[in-house]
Subunit: 335 residues, 2 copies
């Protein structure tokens, strides 16, 4: 690989900030990390690219690190895995200021620790565009199973954690701030609501504790909502060989989303169901598991809502107050 | 993530080409792959970027896939790990022709299989510059240990597999082909030698079988030579707290490297010790292990050469015919 001294320096910095422990017996500093564990292991890879998934105009180095690691860890939450390790590959333009490089590396270490994971490996490469590629590894204890997308059965209930549309509305606000004053939509929104929507876009919070609780509660299928609720429930329907029917009016929408959608000429449902990046969990469960799910999630302070049911058939069926609707789709990020 | 339909199509293609097996119980198609194994696991991440580590002018899609996966698997060879799974994240410009995207995905599947690994996961993201980030996972059987950089002891011998300088000479040839005729250095070189040097650069062959054989032969420290022999032995010296002394004239140099170095005004030693990317293995061993190493590597048809010894102290000491020399450094790729 083509590494200048500063790349070795960054790797040294990563190494100092990395704390082996748990299943990690060798962390950063050899050809590879070494882990030992005998339960099922979940591994997911994900990348974010400057100008496509993040912008240095909107996000600090710490927030870019959180977006990269948080979205990757959300895939582990979607498997009901306990978070284990993260590995980071950083593509960096030659003109990136040294303090920004250091802040980014520090951000990886801080974010990894904040989410209960070990930063177990990393690499930096020269690149004309900044990107961060993250590998996230999580596990279930030996004898337990991870929760796949494929376990939904007709008769199951469909539920989601938290609230939707915030990340999409946050992106509209960030995009809108770049418009000249006369093109900026008129929008009255309290500062705290505005701030919460923007943070939803730039500081994703993976639902790791909720994922674990759902593993222990007998849910049948589980996915993290990164592409958009309609698309991700479509993945569950296809993998399970069932139809998923949801009632739009039951999907919890984050405060302020309706106002932002209105100002930008969008429907709130479009932001809630198609914008993605809210990193909530969607899951199916037999009715017998409902009391346990309720108890475990409320113990975590994590709200959840029943939004539909699993039927024989295929695909996602959406209704609004009982009337069938087309599932919203085609929300372009960074358009 | 921001995925157009074609990205879902590519992931579907990856999924069709991925064959779960061995420790992989769930491959591409869920939030994460699932593996179960109870021995030590090595995980390494690496990335290659267009214009920095590869060029579409020189390499086919299949060769770009081989460069990405081959160089990542070399890190596993450097741990003496048996190859397990690879995960690929592909950053792709919007104007990449569809056939090239497909060839690249097919190339990942073919290369993964050719090197005895499972393509267990992948993701594609939009990116202004093409990049491939690879996560490679390998293992040793339960009860056995992977070989780290840190086990070298004074008195050990220093050895390398194969021959050096080929990848660096190949890069000079590829760079030189871009020069106008009057600026191209005069070089008489048989076509087969020229071809072998270029392939060394664009089709890396990780030493996976040799790595495994060395694990079973009692070597004390092991590293793959990606940064350059002098730099990588420096990593061994630092991790082990020893000095590594090597005799330049003993380092095997690939046929044609001397001629290319001469034509481009470089020293052959510079290419052999500092250019990197040959993906050979460097290792240290107690004298008592020599007969076993000889037997195991010759059984694989893999040549190896003793090039020095481990001493108390620190750093890499280089001599030429008994006279101390400065270790060569500072070979710029794609300059």
């Amino acid at each position: 690989m083509d590494r200048g001294m500063s790349e070795f320096d960054l790797i040294e910095r990563l190494k100092r900030l990395s704390k082996p422990g748990g299943p990690v017996t060798t962390g950063i500093g050899d050809d590879a990390s070494v882990t030992v564990h005998d339960g099922p292991t979940a591994t997911s890879v994900d990348a974010i690219v400057e100008g496509v998934h993040f912008s240095r105009r909107w996000s600090t180095a710490r927030q870019i690190a959180q977006k990269a690691i948080g979205s990757a860890l959300s895939d582990l939450a979607g498997m009901a895995a306990d978070p284990g390790e993260v590995y980071v590959t950083l593509g960096m333009p030659a003109d990136t200021p040294p303090h920004f490089r250091e802040d980014l590396v520090d951000g990886f270490a801080e974010t990894a620790e904040a989410f209960g994971t070990t930063l177990a490996g990393g690499d930096t490469v020269a690149s004309p565009v900044m990107f961060v590629s993250v590998t996230a590894v999580g596990r279930a204890p030996a004898g337990e199973e991870l929760i796949l997308r494929s376990g939904a059965t007709p008769g199951d209930l469909v539920a989601v954690t938290g609230e939707f549309g915030g990340a999409g509305a946050g992106l509209l606000l960030l995009d809108g701030a770049d418009l000249s004053k006369e093109h900026r939509p008129a929008l009255e929104l309290a500062d705290d609501l505005r701030g919460a929507l923007v943070l939803r876009q730039i500081e994703p919070q993976p639902r790791l504790s909720a994922g674990r609780a759902l593993r222990e509660s007998g849910v049948s299928a589980l996915i993290d909502v990164s592409d958009g609720l309609a698309a991700d429930l479509g993945h569950v329907a296809r993998a399970s060989g069932v139809a998923v029917e949801i009632a739009i009016e039951r999907v919890p929408v984050q405060a302020g989303v309706a106002e932002v959608a209105d100002a930008f000429g969008r429907r709130p449902e479009e932001l809630a169901l198609a914008a993605g990046e809210d990193y909530e969990l969607a899951f199916t469960l037999p009715g017998t598991a409902l009391a346990t799910v309720e108890e475990r999630l409320s113990g975590l302070g994590c709200g959840f809502t029943l939004i539909g049911e699993v039927l024989p058939g295929q695909g996602v069926e959406v209704s609004y107050d009982g009337r069938p609707e087309q599932p919203p789709g085609g929300f372009d990020h960074f358009s």
